[in-house]
Each structure stands twice: as structure tokens, then as C-alpha cells.
């Protein structure tokens, strides 16, 4: 199997999970983010079950020297808790709280022709491209 096929399978399973869980519906997400009488804990259950499975999965894969279809693992290089990380998380959090869309559900919604996601998506793409225009920080030092 090649990497593109593996990625396609991963995307299909991930997208099915987002849709089945209700996370592709921004009203369900806002039902969790909005703390009032109608609070909906669904997002917490999705996160808890996804994190549990992923943690067990990573543990099971453990000390393999390489993944199945690549020569090495690609763990995120950055480990610092810095201003860019926190400011990015704040800006993302505001946008998430306004519309109830994070990137995965927005992409799923756009492909399933949900008009809300189709309006959100151009903004999302322009926001990503605006970041590409910024000067990049130095790459982290590899020890």
C-alpha cells in the first residue's frame, strides 16, 4: 500500500467519525462550548473516547522502528510553550466559539455541501494563506 492510499483510508475513517459523532454539526459543538441550561456534553465524550483510543494505539505501536509505509516516524518537532502557540490557540478559540467550526468539521461540512461550512471555508482558506505570508520563526533545534 502506498502513502496516499493509507492517507485516504485514514481520512475516510476520521471523517466518518466526525460525522457520526455529530461534530460536523456546529450547533452540537456550540451546545458544548456554550455553558447554559442547554449544555450538551457530546464533544467531551467524543474527545475522551478519541484520546483514549489514540493513546492506546500509540502505546501499542510503541517502539516500532518505522511505520508501515515510510522509513521513519515524524513526531512534531516543536515542544516549546511559546507566545505563537498561545496566541494561535486564543485566536482559534475565538473563531471556534463564534461559529462552532474547527478545521475537520468545516472540511467535512464543505464536502457534504452544508451551506454553513461553504461560507466558513473561504474565510478559513484566506486565514491559512495569510499565515503563510508571515515571517517564519527559526526551526526548533534538533538535539
Amino acid at each position: 500500500m502506498s502513502k496516499p492510499i493509507a492517507a485516504l483510508i485514514g481520512g475516510i475513517v476520521f471523517g466518518t467519525g466526525l460525522s457520526v459523532s455529530g461534530m460536523s454539526d456546529p450547533e452540537v459543538v456550540l451546545g458544548f462550548l456554550t455553558v447554559d441550561g442547554g449544555w450538551n456534553p457530546a464533544l467531551l465524550l467524543v474527545m475522551a473516547s478519541a484520546v483514549t483510543v489514540t493513546a492506546l494505539g500509540y502505546l501499542a505501536i510503541g517502539r516500532r522502528s518505522a511505520p508501515l509505509f515510510d522509513t521513519r516516524f515524524h513526531p512534531p518537532a516543536r515542544t516549546a510553550i511559546d507566545g505563537r502557540l498561545l496566541l494561535g490557540a486564543i485566536i482559534f478559540g475565538i473563531g471556534w466559539g463564534v461559529a462552532g467550526y474547527c478545521p475537520g468539521p468545516a472540511i467535512v461540512g464543505a464536502f457534504t455541501l452544508d451551506p454553513r461550512a461553504l461560507v466558513f471555508l473561504p474565510g478559513f482558506i484566506v486565514g491559512m494563506l495569510a499565515f503563510e505570508g508571515l515571517p517564519k520563526p527559526a526551526p526548533p533545534q534538533i538535539q
Binding site: 492517507a7 466518518t16 462550548l33 456554550t34 455553558v35 489514540t54 471556534w96
Partner: protein, 133 residues
């Protein structure tokens, strides 16, 4: 609520598969940015994004999606500006709900857990100020 847990299991299975097969963290904002900016360098990010869409169709067949409310001008403006903030913020912060929230938390990364606490807290504050009834 059962759907939420089953959906979470599928998301976890997909994240595990991406690590086992390709050695990649399933961070959707990063993968989407690669699909958008360097689609010819690597085919796999674009295919992951297409897979997300196909999964959305499969999921919608497996459940009854709620009816979609009508959009007015205010919703359109809010959705567009939220898109800008989410697109820019997830790139600046190197991740979103999938990369930091699911994969980073599962790796017990302090960096990802910090980001997750911040965007969850800010998201809840923003939504509660704007949408609480």
C-alpha cells in the same frame, strides 16, 4: 450519546492508523495547509482531505443529520470572520482540535495540552458570551 462515543472511537482509530501506516500525527489544520499550499510536493495530504469529505457522506448515511437552519446576513458575516480566525489561529498555534486536542493529548505533550486548555477555555468563553440563552 452513543454516537458521540462511537464517533470518537473512529477518530481514535484513524489517528492510530495514520501513525502506524505513515508515522504522521493526524493534525487536520496542518494536513489541510499542506494540501492547500504544496499539493504537488506530496499527494497524501490532499487525499486525506478528500477522505474526510467521503467520510462525511458515509456518516450522514449512518445517522439522521439535523436540519440545517437558514442563513441570514449576520450568520454569513460571523461564519466568514470565524473562518479567518480559525484558519490563521490554527496555523499560528501549529494545530487544532485534532492535532493538539486528540493526538497531542494522547502523546501527553505538554505543548499540545497547553494549547488545548487555551482554545477550549477561550472557545467556551466566547460561545457563552455570544450564544448563551
Amino acid at each position: 450519546m452513543t454516537n458521540a462515543i462511537i464517533g470518537g472511537l473512529l477518530i481514535g482509530a484513524a489517528a492510530t492508523w495514520l501513525w502506524l501506516s505513515m508515522g504522521r500525527v493526524a493534525g487536520i489544520s496542518g494536513i489541510a495547509a499542506q494540501a492547500l499550499t504544496t499539493p504537488r510536493a506530496n499527494l497524501w495530504p490532499l487525499l486525506f482531505v478528500v477522505g474526510l469529505g467521503a467520510g462525511g457522506w458515509i456518516g450522514n448515511l449512518l445517522r439522521n443529520p439535523a436540519p440545517i437552519p437558514e442563513l441570514d446576513a449576520l450568520n454569513v458575516a460571523a461564519l466568514l470572520s470565524a473562518g479567518l480566525l480559525v484558519g490563521f489561529g490554527t496555523r499560528l498555534g501549529s494545530g487544532c482540535t485534532s492535532g493538539h486536542g486528540v493526538c497531542g493529548s494522547a502523546r501527553l505533550s505538554k505543548r499540545s495540552i497547553s494549547a488545548t486548555v487555551v482554545f477550549l477555555g477561550v472557545g467556551m468563553l466566547t460561545a457563552t458570551l455570544l450564544h448563551a440563552s
